[in-house]
């Protein structure tokens, strides 16, 4: 373990030797990179009208995942690298046997990456992925609360809407492999039958998991989820450990219902699962958050990020203060900005921004100050 972390540090300390060796290795095969974790697309199938499932061959250094976790992929579109999180939808077994994972990606309306993903991510392409992340992991947090035996018999309720089913599917795959007789209540919401992701897999699960109770609802016909409907699907909700994944309003509803039904907070797990929401344009004062130093500052006028940072007591580097030299560049992850020189908005996908000429027009997050 020690040697491994030493070698990782060595490779991540980008220096001329590391860079050159990595360049040679990646010229042979991108998956051999030592500086980045890479994967190759080996298959792509149409899941529904607007959803694709990609099978990725991951590099040998990729460490593995727990069902429910996600990876960040770096997608290059028109020269710009975007980072997006997608849950892994396959079983740990597939990784063990073939070093493959699957990602199931639905087109998000108004998104930059997912709507045309089929055009820029094709079979044989390689892409950078992160290590698996996230703590939306089935019965993982319960390790601290229960004994192993208790955990094995904790009944669960898996509640998904739309593409929120992807991490849930990985959990179900893992139950099939490890504990097929586990008591599972599975509730799946979709707009209509055509939009139901993994319809065939769901059928397979009902066959191989004898204690699985599956309920499927279509909101086009039945409308939004209600408390009655939830408790009808799962009368013993309060005795189960809940895993909820779907659009934010859906999760909020389920959470409220579950709380009312008496499910304690520590047994309700959820995955915030949506594409980055378009930043709110606000007319009133905006707040700028500098996450590295933990400072925040509010601004009511057209004041540049650089000045706001200085007002909040930071001393960032700067030069011309006029948009020429880029000395004042900072990293923006959220929020919208306009260019003070031109009055034009600064594209949302641009993360490196010149703070001296960037004026926030919504709440903004700066990560490196």
């Amino acid at each position: 373990m020690q040697t491994q972390s030493n070698s990782t540090t060595y490779w991540n300390n980008a220096g001329p030797v590391q860079d050159t060796l990595d360049f040679i290795l990646t010229s042979i095969d991108p998956l051999m990179s030592r500086q980045r974790l890479m994967a190759r697309v080996i298959n792509c199938i149409q899941e529904t009208d607007d959803t694709l499932t990609y099978t990725l061959q991951v590099c040998s250094r990729w460490q593995g995942f727990k069902p429910g976790q996600f990876v960040t992929i770096s997608a290059e579109i028109n020269g710009i690298t975007y980072k997006r999180n997608y849950s892994i939808s396959s079983s740990p077994e597939l990784l063990r046997n073939k070093r493959q994972i699957t990602l199931t990606i639905r087109a998000q309306r108004g998104g930059k990456v997912s709507p045309n993903i089929g055009q820029w991510l094709k079979v044989d392409d390689t892409l950078e992925i992160s290590a698996a992340m996230g703590d939306f992991i089935c019965l993982e947090a319960e390790k601290q609360l229960y004994t192993e035996a208790q955990r094995a018999y904790s009944p669960v309720a898996l509640i998904a809407a739309g593409s929120g089913i992807t991490p849930i599917k990985a959990m179900l795959e893992s139950f099939c492999e490890n504990r097929p007789d586990h008591d599972i209540c599975l509730i799946v919401h979709a707009a209509n039958p055509a939009q139901l992701i993994f319809a065939n897999d769901l059928k397979r699960f009902t066959q191989s998991l004898p204690n699985l109770k599956l309920s499927v609802h279509f909101s086009d016909k039945e409308g939004f989820v209600t408390q009655n409907q939830l408790l009808k699907d799962c009368p013993d909700l309060k005795d189960r450990v809940l895993y909820i994944c779907g659009p934010a309003p859906f999760m909020a509803k389920i959470n409220d219902f579950a709380e009312a039904a008496g499910v304690p907070d520590f047994r309700r797990h959820q995955e915030a699962f949506s594409s980055p929401v378009a930043p709110r344009k606000s007319a009133g004062p905006v707040t700028v958050t500098f996450t590295k130093t933990g400072k925040t500052v509010t601004s009511a006028n057209a004041v540049s990020l650089l000045e706001l940072a200085e007002r909040s007591g930071l001393k960032p580097k700067f030069g011309c203060r006029n948009g020429i030299c880029h000395e004042c560049t900072c990293q923006r992850t959220q929020g919208s900005l306009v260019n003070a020189l031109t009055g034009n908005p600064i594209p949302d996908e641009q993360t490196q921004v010149q703070s001296c000429i960037s004026i926030p027009t919504s709440d903004v997050t700066i990560t490196n100050w």
Binding site: A14, P16, N78, G79, G319, C325, H326, T329, T342
Partner: protein
């Protein structure tokens, strides 16, 4: 001085504003068009640079005779020039920040020269590009070593500034690396060595790393043939120095490139800033490879107008820039590489002599008739 002031006053403030707007429009149009083409271009240059470095070092290492050694040195020189000029200089300007590629980010990029990246970003991106050719503020003007305009009082040591110039060119990376030291200010006492400590530390760290790479580690890998590797690396570094210095001198020190005073640039408008960038810079023409090897500093005018737009776009932008210049009757300084460089040499020679009216001047003119040719041109 007189001539420069007149030049800056040629346009009315409203004309300058309109001129500035046209430049802004050109800038916005190109920024909106950046995309895959630009990403592919810079990556292809990075690939070429890396392969030529690997090939060059390999050839030097395993060379059997002067021919293969020479080829290796040539390849390594090309690699160093590409890395410094087309990749490093341009990436550090923020030309590729929009790609979100961590390897091509302006604030973290570190290049293959003894000049520390942070120091470069401060002295070049900020000071030189903001205060271009403003005497007293743009320390790149003559690098505090050369006298290239009459605003600097003549001293006898300027008589030999051709020697200084040659030495500066040959060791250009050291000159650039130590630029932030501001030796001229140390000498007149306006800054102290104590204040320069943090810079010196950074410089020492970077310089040690560079020296170790080219003069210790790679030679040591060759064992008994260490000397030929050391020599090869030294020649490649020297070639890169000469090339970079020559290109850069062609950018601002040609005969017609103008200088400005601090007062005339106070509170300048955006249009005026653009205007000053054009008057203070000069282009040269040549083949595609000359442009690439110069990091497109052959389009110095466009580079100074748009320092953070990917440099390989300058050739396309230059037509529009020239058209705008013509419209506002602004001189656009360009010419063949050789000719432009000749005017640089002339400038170095001319200002090594005392200015007209200086008592010594008559003596020189009496001695050598050809000095007459080096007289400053009368203002046109």
């Amino acid at each position: 001085m007189d001539m420069q002031t007149r030049a800056l006053n040629q346009l009315t403030p409203s004309e300058l504003d309109r001129f500035g707007e046209e430049m802004d429009q050109l800038r916005e149009a190109v920024l909106a068009d950046l995309g895959q083409r630009d990403a592919d271009y810079i990556r292809s240059i990075v690939r070429l640079q890396r392969w030529s470095e690997i090939g060059g070092r390999g050839l030097i290492h395993f060379s059997l005779g002067p021919l293969s050694w020479g080829a290796g040195v040539a390849a390594l020189s090309v690699s160093k020039i590409l890395e410094n000029m087309e990749v490093g200089h341009n990436v550090m300007h923020g030309q590729y920040d929009w790609m979100n590629d961590p390897k091509l980010q302006s604030q973290s990029y570190e290049w293959d020269t003894v000049c520390d990246g942070d120091s470069w970003r401060k002295t070049h991106n900020y000071e030189h590009h903001t205060y271009t050719n403003i005497l007293g503020k743009d320390r790149d003007y003559g690098y505090a070593v050369l006298r290239l305009s009459d605003d600097i009082p003549w001293k006898p040591r300027h008589l030999v500034q051709f020697v200084n110039y040659s030495v500066l060119s040959l060791f250009f990376q050291w000159g650039v690396g130590l630029h932030e030291l501001e030796t001229e200010k140390l000498r007149d006492g306006s800054v102290t060595l104590e204040e320069k400590k943090p810079f010196l530390k950074r410089f020492a760290r970077k310089a040690t790393r560079q020296l170790a790479k080219d003069y210790v580690i790679f030679p040591a890998l060759a064992g008994p043939f260490a000397l030929k590797v050391l020599a090869g690396n030294a020649v490649a570094n020297g070639a890169r120095n000469l090339w970079a210095s020559t290109i850069i001198f062609c950018g601002h020190f040609t005969e017609d490139a103008q200088t400005f005073s601090e007062e005339e640039c106070e509170n300048e408008s955006r249009g005026m800033w653009y205007y000053r960038q054009i008057l203070g810079s000069s282009n040269f023409t040549g083949g595609r490879w000359l442009h690439i090897m110069s990091g497109h500093l052959s389009y110095q005018v466009e580079h100074h107008l748009f320092p953070d737009i990917p440099a390989h776009r300058y050739p396309e932008m230059s037509n529009r820039v020239q058209a705008i210049c013509e419209k506002y009757n602004i001189p656009y300084n360009t010419g063949p590489f050789g000719k432009q460089y000749l005017t640089v040499l002339k400038r170095v020679a001319r200002y090594s002599l005392p200015p007209e009216g200086h008592p010594l001047r008559e003596r020189f003119e009496g001695v050598k008739g050809w000095f007459g040719k080096l007289k400053p041109r009368s203002a046109t």
